[in-house]
């Protein structure tokens, strides 16, 4: 367990129930969210659409009041103005004042973060360059593409020079290059000593950036910890690729699967198969083996497994 001084954000049994419509129908958006975010890490908050990620982040940002539980940001209960001064936040699918230019918008964000006027100008200038929007200076935000809006959104979150940066679905709507740029930016923020918490359902990005993750399914946290601990190290299967039309494919062991791919015939040998013996038989039968790939559990496997077990219990 991390010492208290290392914890920059804590969600303690957070829950939110909304009462919607004329008949005040109860909708439990989050039933139990507990996790800590530690200083200097990139923390991923994962979950499928509608699982309660955004509602949790809104509770942590003071936009939504929890029905139960407690949220703490930078050592203070939410909402707290002193804590907010050290915090930057990018909402999901952000909308900004479309009549403002990037410079005007960042100046407003800086003024609201108590940044002195002269410093605001300098910071805005640097951040516009940092997020790659030099070409869009002076242009109203209404003319920005989704990717550009996402970038200016990150810039506004950084205007207050925050210790903790919270990004809600920062990769949404971005092309692969845009996603890579945001990933690089998050790792850069980490190198600068900032803590990053971001929500997403794009799993490859998480594997590349996050030190630790929390997974939420149907409003309830299922897993919290480093990816290396969450993913089982055991071998799930071994994939053997054989060249098309060369040699006689040996009989598959029980549970083995054969499928065609442009690279060749893919043989999927289940956990516990004698791979050496299969390869010996294949080579004796004049097969050409182009690759042998052991397959361990990926984040996607874990995610699908957890989502499946959640469906089973609900």
């Amino acid at each position: 367990m991390a010492p208290m001084s290392d914890i920059v954000l804590r969600a303690d049994r957070l829950a939110k129930t909304f009462h919607l419509g004329f008949f005040r129908k109860r909708v439990e958006a989050v039933t139990d969210a507990s996790f800590d975010v530690r200083r200097g890490e990139v923390f991923g908050y994962l979950g499928p659409n509608g699982s309660g990620k955004t509602t949790t982040l809104k509770m942590l940002m003071g936009l939504v009041f929890p029905s139960r539980g407690r949220a703490e940001v930078l050592g203070r209960g939410v909402p707290n103005r002193q804590a907010k001064r050290r915090l930057g936040y990018l909402p999901e699918s952000p909308y900004f004042y479309e009549y403002l230019s990037p410079e005007e918008f960042l100046d407003l964000a800086g003024a609201l973060s108590d940044v002195p006027r002269r410093e605001r100008r300098k910071r805005a200038d640097g951040l516009i360059t940092r997020v790659g929007l030099d070409h869009a200076r002076g242009r109203p935000l209404r003319k920005f593409s989704k990717g550009m809006l996402q970038r200016i959104g990150i810039a506004q979150a950084l205007m207050g020079d925050p210790e903790l940066v919270v990004l809600d679905e920062p990769m949404t709507g971005l092309d692969p290059i845009g996603r890579k740029e945001i990933r690089d930016l998050m790792l850069e923020l980490k190198r600068e000593g900032r803590t990053v918490l971001y929500s997403t359902h794009i799993l490859p990005d998480v594997e590349l950036t996050c030190d630790r993750v929390a997974m939420i399914f149907a409003g309830r946290i299922r897993n919290v910890g480093p990816l290396s601990e969450l993913l089982t190290a055991r071998l799930l299967s071994t994939e053997v690729c054989l060249r098309h039309g060369v040699g006689q494919v040996p009989t598959l062991p029980q549970g083995g699967k054969l499928r065609e791919s442009p690279d060749g015939l893919l043989v999927d040998l289940p956990e516990g198969s004698d791979v050496d013996a299969f390869l010996r038989v294949a080579l004796t039968a004049n097969c050409s083996v182009t690759s042998v790939t052991p397959r361990r559990e990926s984040l996607e496997d874990l995610f699908v497994r957890e989502a499946g077990s959640q469906k089973g219990t609900s």
């Binding site: 003071g62 936009l63 936040y89 909308y95 009549y99 964000a109 609201l112």
Partner: protein, 261 residues
């Protein structure tokens, strides 16, 4: 304070970049200028007609713009979700509401100055002056507009623009009719009179801000002859400001408890 000024300035900037507002202002100016033509149709009453129509234009368009801006600018922050970016900043929610209100007020003040300047120019064309009485009347209309804005902001802190606009307009119409409602109460049975009196005590008495032609003290006041004195201006301004503050505090309390889903 800087944060409130930043919100107010941004609100003002949003309003002045809104084309619909210019259309409303254009129609207001058109009505004031048309007073010149209408004045020519009267017999030696040109100045009186211009002043009446001009003040009427400033009053009605001031209120329409106040409701339009007051109802829309706060609601738009919620509807377009710009508030999600602003409220997580180190800013109290009441500072946000106050900033919005001040920004709207600044917008309306500029509009009133423009409409007043047009009226002054039209009066000058007829060889008359924008005198102290007219200036006092425009000031009272501005306080009226401030109060209507507060009411519009209050309603938009918890309901849709349509309902907020409808309720705000309703408050304006009823508030202007306070003397008529009281007169109605005077003729009613005692129980109904008490209810109507209580109603008139609670709703904003907007008739106070358009006193020309009514009896103040024991005398009839008119913007063309003897208008209200300094004590009336002071107490009416204080009433408008106090009422606005109370309504605004209610708006802030509602906004403070809101979930931004």
């Amino acid at each position: 304070m800087n944060r409130i000024v930043a919100i107010a300035w941004n609100t003002f900037r949003e309003a002045v970049r809104n084309k619909i507002l210019y259309s409303l202002l254009f129609f207001a100016v058109l009505i004031i200028v048309s007073a010149l033509a209408i004045g020519d149709l009267t017999l030696h009453e040109e100045v009186r007609t211009i002043r009446d129509i001009g003040l009427f234009g400033i009053d009605i368009f001031g209120v329409i713009i106040a409701i339009f801006v007051g109802v829309n600018l706060l609601y738009k922050e919620l509807d377009l979700k710009t508030v999600y970016t602003i409220l997580p900043k180190p800013l109290w929610r009441w500072e946000f509401v106050l900033g919005k209100w001040l920004g709207i007020l600044l917008t309306l003040a500029v509009q009133m100055v423009v409409m007043g300047a047009v009226l002054g120019t039209v009066l000058a064309v007829e060889g008359a002056k924008f005198d102290v009485a007219t200036a006092k009347a425009v000031w009272l209309l501005f306080i009226n507009v401030m109060l209507v804005t507060s009411i519009a902001v209050f309603f938009s802190s918890f309901s849709s623009p349509f309902l907020s606009g409808f309720f705000s307009l309703g408050c304006f119409v009823v508030g202007r009719s306070v003397p008529d409602i009281r007169a109605l109460g005077a003729k009613a049975v005692p129980g109904a009179k008490r209810i109507l009196d209580l109603f008139c005590d609670v709703i904003p008495n907007l008739h106070l801000f358009y006193p020309s032609g009514s009896i103040v003290g024991a005398e009839e006041v008119s913007v063309h002859r003897q208008f209200v004195g300094a004590d009336y201006m002071l107490t009416t301004t204080a009433y408008g400001v106090a009422y606005s503050v109370v309504v605004l505090v209610f708006a802030m309390l509602i906004f403070r408890k809101r979930d931004f889903v």
